[in-house]
C-alpha cells in the first residue's frame, strides 16, 4: 500500500475545473444560512457534516421557513438518496481497498467525485485509484468549506432589496434542467410541483413531502409507459 503521486496530482488537476460550477452553489448556501437566521457556525458545519450542496441548501432553507424539523430532515435526506446508486456502482472497485479507505472513501463521495472516478478503468491498480480518489476528494472538500464560509461573510453585505434568496429556486431550476434526460423525469418534476401547489395549505409544510412522493410515483409510472 503506497501513494501514487502521479495519480494524486491528476486527481487535484481534474477536480479543479469541476469545482467551478459549485462556486455559486456554495455562495448561495452561505447566503441562505444568513437568511435563515440560524447560528452561522452551525450552518457552516453542514458543509463538512453533510458535504453535499443540494441537501444542505434544502435543509437550511426549510429550517429557515419554519418547517417542522422532521420534515426538513426527511426532505434533505430524500434529496441525497441518489447516493445509494453511487455507492452500489463503486462497491466492486472498493473491494480491493483496505478497510480504512472503505470507511473513509464514502464520506467524500459527492456527485463530482463519482463522475470522475466511475469512468476510471475497473482494473486500475488499487494504490493509484485510492491516491486519485483521495486527492480529488480532499480538493473538493477544502474548496467547498472555504467557499461556503465566504458566502457567509458575503451574506450580510448584500442589500436586502436585491432579494438574493430568489437565487435558491433558480439554482434548483438549473439542477432540475440538468437532471432531465427523458420525458418521464419532466413528468416527475411537474407532478411534484403541481401536487405541492395543491397541498400548500397542509400544516407544517408537509405538502412538500406529499408532492415529492406523488412526483416520484408519476415518474415511475411514466417510465413504465415509455418502456411499453
Amino acid at each position: 500500500m503506497s501513494v501514487d503521486r502521479a495519480a494524486a496530482r491528476q486527481g487535484v488537476i481534474d477536480a479543479l475545473p469541476l469545482f467551478v460550477p459549485a462556486i455559486p452553489f456554495a455562495l448561495v448556501i452561505g447566503l441562505a444560512i444568513t437568511e435563515s437566521g440560524m447560528n452561522p457556525f452551525v450552518g457552516w458545519s453542514g458543509a463538512w457534516l453533510i458535504f453535499g450542496g443540494a441537501a444542505q441548501l434544502t435543509l437550511v432553507t426549510l429550517l429557515g421557513t419554519g418547517v417542522a424539523v422532521a420534515a426538513a430532515v426527511g426532505t434533505a435526506l430524500v434529496v441525497n438518496a441518489r447516493h445509494l446508486m453511487y455507492s452500489a456502482a463503486l462497491a466492486p472497485t472498493f473491494q480491493s481497498q483496505p478497510r480504512w479507505f472503505r470507511w473513509l472513501g464514502p464520506y467524500l463521495l459527492i456527485d463530482q467525485l463519482f463522475a470522475l472516478t466511475t469512468v476510471r478503468a475497473p482494473d486500475e491498480d488499487p494504490d493509484s485509484f485510492r491516491s486519485y480518489y483521495l486527492a480529488a476528494g480532499a480538493t473538493f472538500w477544502a474548496l467547498w468549506l472555504t467557499v461556503v464560509a465566504f458566502g457567509l461573510l458575503l451574506g450580510p453585505v448584500v442589500p436586502e432589496g436585491w432579494n438574493l434568496e430568489f437565487a435558491i429556486p433558480i439554482l434548483f431550476i438549473g439542477l432540475l434542467v440538468l437532471g432531465i434526460e427523458h420525458w418521464p423525469e419532466m413528468v416527475a418534476a411537474l407532478a411534484g410541483a403541481g401536487v405541492t401547489y395543491l397541498a400548500a395549505g397542509l400544516p407544517n409544510r408537509t405538502g412538500l413531502l406529499v408532492g415529492a412522493f406523488f412526483g416520484m410515483i408519476a415518474g415511475f409510472a411514466a417510465e413504465r409507459l415509455r418502456r411499453e
Binding site: L84, A91, G174, V177, Y197, A200, L209, G211, M216
Partner: protein
C-alpha cells in the same frame, strides 16, 4: 441546538447512503424497481421544493410574472449552457428587470 442536531442527522444519513454498499453490501444488488424509483426522486423533490420555497407561512404560493419569467429564463440558459453560473446570472437579471417593469 435543534438546527445542529438536524444537520448531524442529515450528515449521518447521507454518509449511510454513500457507504452502505461499499462497506457492507458489496455482493448485494439493488432491485431493479428501487433503481428506477430512485431515478425519479431527484426531479420530483426539486419540483416540489421550488413550489415550497415560494409558499408563504400562511400556505399561499407567491408566484407572479417576475418569478415565472426568471424560471423560464434560468431553465432555458441551464439547458443551453449546462452552467450554474450562467443560469443564476440570467435568472436573477430577468427577475430584477421584470420586477422593476411590472
Amino acid at each position: 441546538m435543534s438546527d445542529f442536531l438536524a444537520t448531524v442527522v442529515v450528515g449521518l444519513g447521507t454518509y449511510v447512503f454513500r457507504a452502505v454498499f461499499i462497506v457492507v453490501l458489496a455482493k448485494r444488488r439493488i432491485p431493479e424497481v428501487v433503481l428506477v424509483a430512485l431515478k425519479y426522486v431527484g426531479p420530483a423533490v426539486l419540483g416540489a421544493l421550488i413550489v415550497a420555497l415560494l409558499t408563504d407561512p400562511e400556505g399561499n404560493v407567491q408566484i407572479g410574472v417576475p418569478e415565472v419569467s426568471a424560471f423560464v429564463a434560468g431553465g432555458f440558459v441551464a439547458h443551453r449552457t449546462r452552467s450554474h453560473i450562467w443560469t443564476l446570472f440570467a435568472g436573477m437579471v430577468v427577475y430584477w428587470v421584470v420586477r422593476a417593469l411590472v
